[in-house]
Symmetry: C2
């Protein structure tokens, strides 16, 4: 929907974000949002089931973007490259024009424990969905879960950085940087996969790193 002729849903969303940010989420009613947007309460409820949905409707699209990104990677791509690729396609759904709205939305959520919980719940569900999409491609269960969690971790950190007031880089650039940092970090590990011999030793307090240090 073009910016210069926003439809009712977009007008309501903008009005809601503004009111949530200035008055607080709890203190804002659907009626006030509708009034502020020059629309009726009835119109509000034609577009949103409640005021919380104004903040969380985008979730469905985000989940879809991740799954589409995972599905779009070429066959035989490794799990980690699939999620790197998915991160980049998801990042393109957050152009710089959305940065200010995303920042306001996050500010509203950070003020309200119930909204924070909803957000955490969303992120947990997102990791599950990405893992499912990876398994559907034949990635084994453990690798799918680890790659999905890493993907959401990188996305979360990159997103938080993207909406900082002083940040200029695009979300795609930041996500690539954070992802690169994760690989760099992992590359510094001296720990190896535990071998059956390690297990037989059963020295659980001793670190794998120490045992394998070369």
């Amino acid at each position: 929907m073009a910016r210069w002729e926003p439809g009712a849903a977009e007008r309501l969303r903008q009005a809601a974000l503004e009111l949530f940010a200035t008055r607080g989420f709890e203190q804002t009613t659907a009626t006030e949002i509708a009034q502020s947007a020059g629309l009726t309460e009835r119109t509000f409820f034609r577009h949103f089931s409640d005021k919380r949905e104004v903040l969380f409707r985008g979730q469905g699209l985000l989940v879809e973007a991740f799954v589409t990104g995972v599905d779009a990677a070429p066959p035989d791509t490794s799990a980690i490259d699939i999620v790197a690729s998915a991160l980049q396609s998801v990042a393109s759904f957050f152009p710089d024009e959305r940065r200010s709205d995303s920042r306001t939305r996050q500010f509203v959520i950070d003020q309200n424990p119930a909204l924070q919980e909803r957000e955490r719940h969303k992120l947990a569900g997102l990791a599950t969905t990405v893992a499912d999409a990876l398994r559907a491609r034949g990635v084994d269960d453990l690798a799918a879960r680890l790659a999905a969690e890493s993907c959401i971790t990188v996305f979360g950190i990159a997103f938080t950085q993207w909406i900082r007031e002083d940040e200029q880089r695009s979300l795609a650039e930041i996500a690539a940087d954070v992802f690169g940092e994760l690989l760099t970090l992992a590359g510094k590990a001296t720990a190896h996969r535990a071998t059956p011999a390690d297990r037989a030793a059963g020295q659980s307090r001793e670190t794998v790193a120490a045992r394998h240090r070369s």
Copy 2:
């Protein structure tokens, strides 16, 4: 506290787990827990502020175990090796004798959305605390966040596996395996950190992996 002479807190905890698992968390009262343990309601409330605390008291100890593990790593250990080491010390707090109780506790939590939310909240806080402990050691902010999140991811996956009915390995062994799998996964990445040239190109939809494939 030895098993053959459990104190009031331990008797209450065992009785509570049993009742939560058989009747459901919501359907169990503090009075019933106390009765089942052969104690008074007053004794219950001397030990726990409410029935939910029976399930979550261990959290403080878990957080402490992670921080202790991070602090105990030798100086100049890389962030990833620090968390590998912390994971191993935390794992030693879950000996096989606790496996059955941990399984029951998780079963109770999985039945109840409010308890699940509390658990998610706990895990989110745990990652923050581990990241703080890493930063306190001089690890830079991004590496600290990534290492901490990876640590909690590995712990969560390993823990879920540890309490499976058919699992025989110790939590330390599983954590080492899952951690090893994460390193293996990261090692397969063909994606690199984005370079300034990549950014200038600004092709956010194209994957970093594709651009850097050698």
